[in-house]
């Protein structure tokens, strides 16, 4: 993959967009170079398709600039942009045959007939559909329709091809071969490809650069190797490939504590005794005799995967995943070693662990032994605890005090699930309410980009009085 000093062909500058009041893209910046195969990767609802549609001209950003070849092209309609799209559902014209579908764009350019014929025939050969000219679109298989859609976009000779999850509807085998074919076509035609997908493997296979998005922001941009080997945070590490993501404490430069053990690593500059996220890829863990290991665990499960064994090892309360060419018996004790270079340290996704609320008691009742306070427009009742009205409180809710509630009974409604990361013991879920973020632990897999109600268990909370009843009214 050449990463030479290529010219920037399209830039998104500080793009912001909302649909129905909901932020879809939150001030993103992205430069894409000529002849580059860039993949925008993220879970559904992260804003990746919107990013593509902004480049295509189907969506106008609320603010920010779209720069194409040095010119600002905000407001230019799709038909005036030198960009062609391969749509998710192909969107082939059902009333036209294969030839006329591919020739659609060229005919609009008023190209001579024999030139159109030559170009379309050549393009159909490129996508392996020689001799399909007269076929009806509706009689083609999914893979063939896919290739017609690619040919239809490519034949117009645009500077950029946008691809919106074009392989999503195909079966696994076909998808794999189409991935390689797409990459080949891109190299043959030397066009800029911007590819949107939620499939991390697809992104790693095809791209020169990968843009990882979540919740309307870009988390990381880099080569597939960078993204895989040096994820910037737990979200990226979790989304790309398999990973052991653990909570750790950075004791000092190059000293990390995980699972109660102190290990050597290569990262610096996190400060002393800083909580961090640690990523260790399953293939980077070496299985040793128990006495030689940095960590010791009991094998709980082992599965033969062809190239390697996949082992699940219990290490204290934590589950660790290992890919190893040698197997160990279930129930046996093994040692594990990781070289310092393979321990990747990342900043926590959130700057806090416990959820802290600072609030004022709005109502209290000594007989019932309860009090209430206001939180983002909702009244929250705290049972079995009494503070006088007007008391300023600091309530510390550890992640385990939060749980997802059934519909209609939560203390807070409609929280957005921003990320779900498995930390070997529990899922750490980051939720976003109107005004802030929350950290929660859960043993069930929740779906990111969905909305859930949240309940607080105040018996696990700590209360601290900041000041007694103040004379201020209210």
């Amino acid at each position: 993959m050449e990463q030479t000093t290529n010219k920037t062909i399209v830039s998104l500058k500080d793009i912001f967009i909302r649909f129905d009041g909901e932020v879809i893209l939150n001030h993103i910046n992205l430069d894409i170079n000529e002849k580059e195969f860039v993949t925008i990767l993220g879970p559904s609802g992260c804003g990746k398709t919107t990013t593509l549609r902004i480049i295509g001209g189907f969506v106008e950003p609320e603010s920010g600039d779209v720069i194409f070849g040095g010119k600002r092209i905000n407001g230019t309609p799709p038909n005036k942009r030198n960009v062609n799209t391969v749509f998710q559902k192909y969107s082939l014209f059902p009333h036209l045959n294969v030839f006329d579908n591919v020739a659609f764009g060229l005919k609009l350019k008023k190209m001579p007939k024999d030139e159109i014929k030559k170009r379309v025939t050549d393009m159909l050969a490129t996508v392996d559909l020689k001799g399909y000219e007269k076929r009806s679109i509706t009689k083609l298989s999914g893979g063939q329709q896919q290739r017609v859609a690619i040919a239809r976009a490519l034949v117009c000779d645009p500077e950029i091809i946008l691809l919106d999850e074009p392989l999503g509807a195909l079966d696994l085998k076909l998808r794999k071969s189409m991935q390689l074919e797409l990459k080949e076509i891109q190299q043959k035609t030397q066009k800029t490809f911007i590819y949107v997908t939620h499939d991390q493997e697809e992104a790693l296979t095809m791209s020169d650069r990968v843009v990882v998005m979540n919740n309307g922001v870009i988390e990381q941009i880099g080569s597939p190797e960078d993204i895989y080997n040096e994820p910037v945070n737990a979200f990226v590490a979790d989304f790309i490939g398999e990973a052991n993501i653990l909570n750790g404490i950075m004791l000092d430069d190059c000293r990390i504590q995980i699972l109660g053990k102190e290990l050597e690593c290569v990262d610096k500059g996190f400060g002393k005794n800083t909580p961090v996220d640690v990523v260790i890829r399953p293939e980077d863990i070496e299985v040793t005799a128990p006495e030689d290991g940095q960590l010791v665990g009991i094998v709980e499960n082992t599965t033969f995967k062809g190239v390697h064994y996949e082992m699940s090892v219990r290490c204290g309360k934590c589950e660790i995943l290992i890919h190893s060419t040698t197997s160990a018996e279930i129930g046996s004790k093994i040692g594990m070693r990781v070289i310092p270079f393979n321990i990747q340290i990342m900043n926590k996704l959130l700057p806090f662990y416990d959820n802290v609320i600072e609030t004022t008691v709005t109502y209290s009742n000594q007989n019932d032994n309860l009090f209430e306070f206001e939180l983002e427009g909702e009244t929250v009742t705290v049972p079995n605890k009494y503070y006088e009205e007007g008391t300023k409180l600091k309530i510390t809710l550890p992640p385990e005090a939060l749980s997802l509630a059934a519909d209609g009974v939560g203390d807070l409604k409609d929280l957005y699930i921003e990320s779900v990361v498995y930390k070997g013991e529990h899922n750490e879920i980051i939720l976003e309410s109107d005004e802030r973020k929350w950290l929660m632990l859960s043993d069930t897999d929740e779906q990111v980009a969905t909305y859930v109600p949240l309940a607080f268990d105040f018996s696990k909370a700590q209360f601290e009085v900041i000041s007694e009843f103040s004379d201020k009214e209210g």
Binding site: G56, F58, P77, P78, N79, V83, N84, T85, F87, K89, S91, L92, F93, P94, H95, F104, G105, L108, K109, S136, I137, T138, R152, A153, C156
Partner: protein
């Protein structure tokens, strides 16, 4: 083979209310008053050839006008906000809640001499008769059947995948080209069913011409209605011929539909 049991009530209905009447009409058409085989009824029917041709002609013109009015209307509807679309479709349907005869009477009141329309145009110095001619008949028919043209075209157009429109724009089409190369060809099935739904009833309609037309504007539907009082055999023969014409028309329309083969 699939079980046919659920379709039994439908079959009974068809036999009792469609098949038997058609057989009876066929039988009556080929007999004389005494029930003997005779082609006299068809010979009589030829007296009405002119009216027959004129009826089909009026139906054709009404259908054409309906199409010209309905097509752009349906297209504009699909480009509006959904709530506006629903309101306008509703408004289009409202007149159909009223009795057919009443609507025709309304036109009589509007078009006759000294009607509001006549008086307003007189003020502008235009003096004319607006009722009792073929134009008034066609106006009545267009008014009557316009919704039957709008609705199928609108339904087909609004089902056109927005992705196709975006794809056409993406490949360089202006709005007009999108319409010409994508929307128009894909709306053909709607045109076919609209034309069918307007032409078939307007070819056989009656009363409209009696109320809005002049003495020469009698239509074949009116002839059938009148003649049945005195001569059921000739009436049946004319009905049969009309039925055959409509049947041929439907076959032609279906051929069109097949050719376009829309998925």
């Amino acid at each position: 083979m699939k079980s046919r049991k659920p379709s039994i009530p439908y079959i009974i209905w068809m036999v009792v209310f469609t098949m038997i009447p058609i057989i009876m009409i066929g039988f009556t058409a080929f007999t004389d008053k005494n029930g003997n085989f005779s082609l006299q009824a068809f010979t009589n029917a030829f007296y009405y050839t002119n009216i027959f041709v004129k009826s089909l002609w009026i139906a054709l013109i009404s259908t054409a006008i309906c199409l010209v009015l309905a097509y752009p209307l349906a297209y504009l509807l699909t480009r509006m906000k959904e709530s506006t679309q629903n309101t306008l479709i509703m408004l289009l349907m409202v007149p159909m809640w009223m009795n057919f005869l009443l609507r025709i009477y309304a036109w009589v009141t509007l078009l006759q001499d000294n009607s509001p329309i006549d008086m307003m145009l007189s003020l502008l110095g235009i003096h004319s008769t607006y009722i009792g001619n073929t134009g008034a008949v066609i106006l009545g028919m267009v008014y009557e059947y316009l919704p039957f043209m709008v609705l199928p075209i609108y339904t087909v157009m609004s089902k056109i995948d927005n992705g196709l429109i975006e794809a056409a724009q993406d490949l360089g089409s202006s709005n007009f080209t999108v319409f010409r190369k994508v929307v128009a060809p894909l709306s053909v099935p709607g045109i076919i069913s609209g034309v069918t739904m307007v032409f078939v009833p307007s070819a056989s309609t009656f009363l409209v011409a009696q109320y809005l037309g002049g003495p020469d504007d009698i239509m074949i539907g009116d002839v059938i209605e009148k003649i049945f009082w005195t001569d059921q055999n000739t009436g049946s023969a004319i009905s049969l011929i009309l039925m055959i014409f409509i049947f041929v028309f439907l076959i032609i329309m279906n051929l069109f539909g097949d050719e376009e083969a829309i998925a």
